[in-house]
Symmetry: C2
């Protein structure tokens, strides 16, 4: 059990921890837009400085455009011979668009109705700070951590952690850990602390179709040339068949169905299709026919268009035949699909479906493999128990449809089964306007993080 002084400390320092979080939330650390590189760097430096103040040896490792923060407990705050847990979180955020739908500024954190509203509140700066706060409570009360802690805070998760495998591989010796906890997820439902035993992988790409050498007048030339927008619509439409299945060649070949035990567990989760439909605001008729909603979200691969741009986008009418049109397309992958094989299938499909008069180009923006961990892993039990202690409810085992690329890399490269969990709630509007984190989840998350240290330390 967690020492009482640790929980007391966290209860007494809520206001201070909130202020520290607000400082971090104010940085517009948007990793997908180069205009914000300086803000991201400033955010990383700010977090590293805070960790140094707690007794960690925090360093920024330049990587691509946004540094990775590695912070290790020093002998002053942890016994060097004790086991080590790697805590992963990310300090970068999604773009806030559409900005006009936010009630308060995305980078002006605001408390409303018991929640912190800001871009990154629940994905993932709030969770990152909860983990730090859990450590701080041990350091400031007991005097030292129950085990060594290695923080791994990334700045490019929201763009798919490109090339992160190279970094992990190159620094594998430094990253050697006994346990790993990835806090970039949330509860399955309010009151249901959750560990995700599976995540989907991701391939994200941009498909561009080029037709005429310049924009043309649609009256003068309409009917003579192939319109890239019409061609793009046709190509995207052909990527699904009438049953909602993806038509890329061999797309489902490597898909492994979940164990029947796992499917049974999912049926016992507090998931009400009607409530979920109300939440998303539309009928649950996407994806493959004949599969349950949770299967479609967790264990079935998808192909979605995340953006289309082409032609005239302003107010009113412009009679233009655009020279080109682009689509951002992502595919969510499940075990044992491989990004490379799926990308080959995509390119093959595009080649076979490009009409005369059009030149197609595919640019890969990110890729990550899917991830699964066995529910029997001892660390699953230890972290699950820590969540139960902090939040006062049994920890559910589920999967998630999103991608946290580090999870699969930790497992494959570092040979440690990471425990993927977190403190966000399903209606926290992550990636959407008015992202938020409930105050209670933020503060109790710190208690949970402290309990994880306590319980994982007891495993070895």
């Amino acid at each position: 059990m967690l020492p009482e002084e640790v929980t007391e400390y966290l209860a007494l320092h809520r206001q201070e921890h909130l202020e520290k979080l607000f400082e971090v939330l104010r940085f517009p650390s948007i990793s997908s837009q180069s205009a914000y590189e300086a803000d991201s760097l400033a955010c990383a430096e700010h977090i590293a400085e805070h960790l140094r103040g707690l007794g960690f040896s925090a360093e920024l490792h330049p990587w691509r455009k946004h540094p990775i923060i590695l912070a290790r407990s020093t002998p002053e705050i942890a016994d060097p011979s004790a086991p080590t847990v790697l805590f992963y979180a990310h300090y970068d955020v999604q773009p806030p668009d559409p900005v006009d739908l936010w009630t308060s500024g995305p980078f002006e954190p605001t408390i409303r109705d018991g929640a912190i509203y800001a871009r990154g509140a629940s994905d993932d700066k709030g969770l990152l700070m909860s983990c730090i706060n859990g450590c701080e409570a041990f350091i400031r009360t007991v005097g030292r951590l129950p085990m060594n802690v290695l923080f791994f805070f990334e700045g490019e998760e929201e763009i798919g952690s490109p090339e992160l495998e190279d970094f992990i591989t190159a620094t594998a010796d430094d990253l050697k850990s006994d346990f790993a906890v990835v806090t970039d997820m949330g509860f399955f439902a309010p009151g249901f602390p959750t560990i995700m035993t599976g995540l989907r992988g991701l391939v994200y790409l941009e498909l561009t179709l080029n037709g005429p050498s310049a924009d043309l007048h649609s009256g003068q030339h309409g009917g003579a040339v192939v319109n890239p927008l019409n061609a793009l619509a046709k190509m995207i439409a052909a990527m699904h068949d009438e049953t909602g299945s993806v038509t890329l060649p061999g797309f489902y070949d490597d898909v492994v169905e979940p164990e029947s035990v796992e499917l049974e567990q999912w049926k016992s989760l507090p998931f009400d299709e009607g409530e979920y439909a109300d939440f998303v605001g539309t009928a649950l008729v996407g994806g493959e026919r004949g599969r349950s909603v949770l299967e479609r979200r967790w264990s079935r691969p998808t192909l979605d268009c995340n953006g289309i741009t082409g032609g005239y986008q302003g107010q009113g009418a412009k009679t233009v035949l655009p020279a080109c049109a682009t689509a951002k397309i992502s595919m969510r992958l499940v075990p044992n699909q491989r990004p490379e094989k799926v990308l080959d299938a995509f390119s093959e499909f595009v080649s076979a479906n490009t009409p005369a008069g059009i030149r197609a180009n595919v640019e890969v923006l990110s890729r990550s493999r899917p991830f699964v961990v066995s529910p029997d892993t001892p660390a699953v039990g230890a972290v699950g128990e820590a969540m139960r202690e902090a939040f006062g409810a049994e920890t559910a085992l589920a999967r998630a449809g999103g991608s946290v690329p580090i999870s699969e890399l930790i497992q494959r490269v570092l040979k440690v089964d990471p425990i993927v969990t977190g403190f966000a709630l399903p209606d926290d509007n992550i990636h959407s306007p008015n992202e938020r984190l409930q105050l209670e989840q933020f503060h109790t998350g710190a208690v949970a993080a402290a309990a994880m240290l306590n319980n994982l330390a007891g495993l070895k």
Copy 2:
């Protein structure tokens, strides 16, 4: 024949006429964007003031968002008992996007390689000014015009002249004319002055598909709900069949084929498919199979997507399932298709093809009927002869694929067959970056306009 002093005057005043045109080109009179309403009004006032200086009674008639300029020759400059010709042109322009592809600013007129570069140079401010200059030459030399002139300059042509029919109907008595010349077109080829005996009509609309009540994370929710972007692609793709024909119910029912005489004429035009393909920069494989390129551009209806907007459009990746997606779609109509019937067919198609989980909305932005005039009309001969005199080459009879809504309204409401012509060249980049008008076309266009007055006056 045109009095020699008139052509001499025009030769001597080229610099002055160029400066006057530049003044008009500097107004960003973009009719589709409400931010430019004041600029449009200023442009109209500037033109009206210039006409007053020449002896016209020019008035701005408030209409929707951009006034219509009506300017009539006073008894000081024309015999009230002489016949009247209505000259139509428009002072509004297309948006300049994409602005970064312009070599010089779209509203900073610049001379390069013998051409005037600016948005509106050839569509339609340059032509508008040539017509005024032709009149000016008569007034300043002969002392009066050979016939009465009524200028009708519109400010909403580029948004499809919405509700213009109401204006024409309400002011039909004032607009009563013996002849009408619509100068919003160009040469079929350099050295080939042209009269357009047919124009396509237009229906322009915005189709919006709404799905989830807010943007969703494509990992968490992908597979559960229908993605409005994927649905939009599918719906647009279904609007054409494999032969390039439009699939809207009854779309081709009212289409009248051109007379075989007309088709024969088109074959004699200096049209080289290879050169045209080089010009547009892509293969000529759009539109309906089994139809010639000129048929597909002039006498066959089309359906084109002019813009798609939805999801994330910025740099890099954002894993979003958008709440909605929109497409701007236009259809070019040919005799005897009717906008209302085509719109009904479109709505019927959308209703029949809207999947579960999606709510569709169609907003009509503009509509105009197709237009044809007989090559035997006497005014066709008089205007064709004027063009021949000015440009020194026989006038060709062709059609155009674009829409100038006024043409059909003049014919149907005012009961006058308008002669549709102009001085632009096919490679003037109208509606595209780097729009231009050749200096020679601008100046000789004024000679042609003067010759039209002379020749039309001789008909009655």
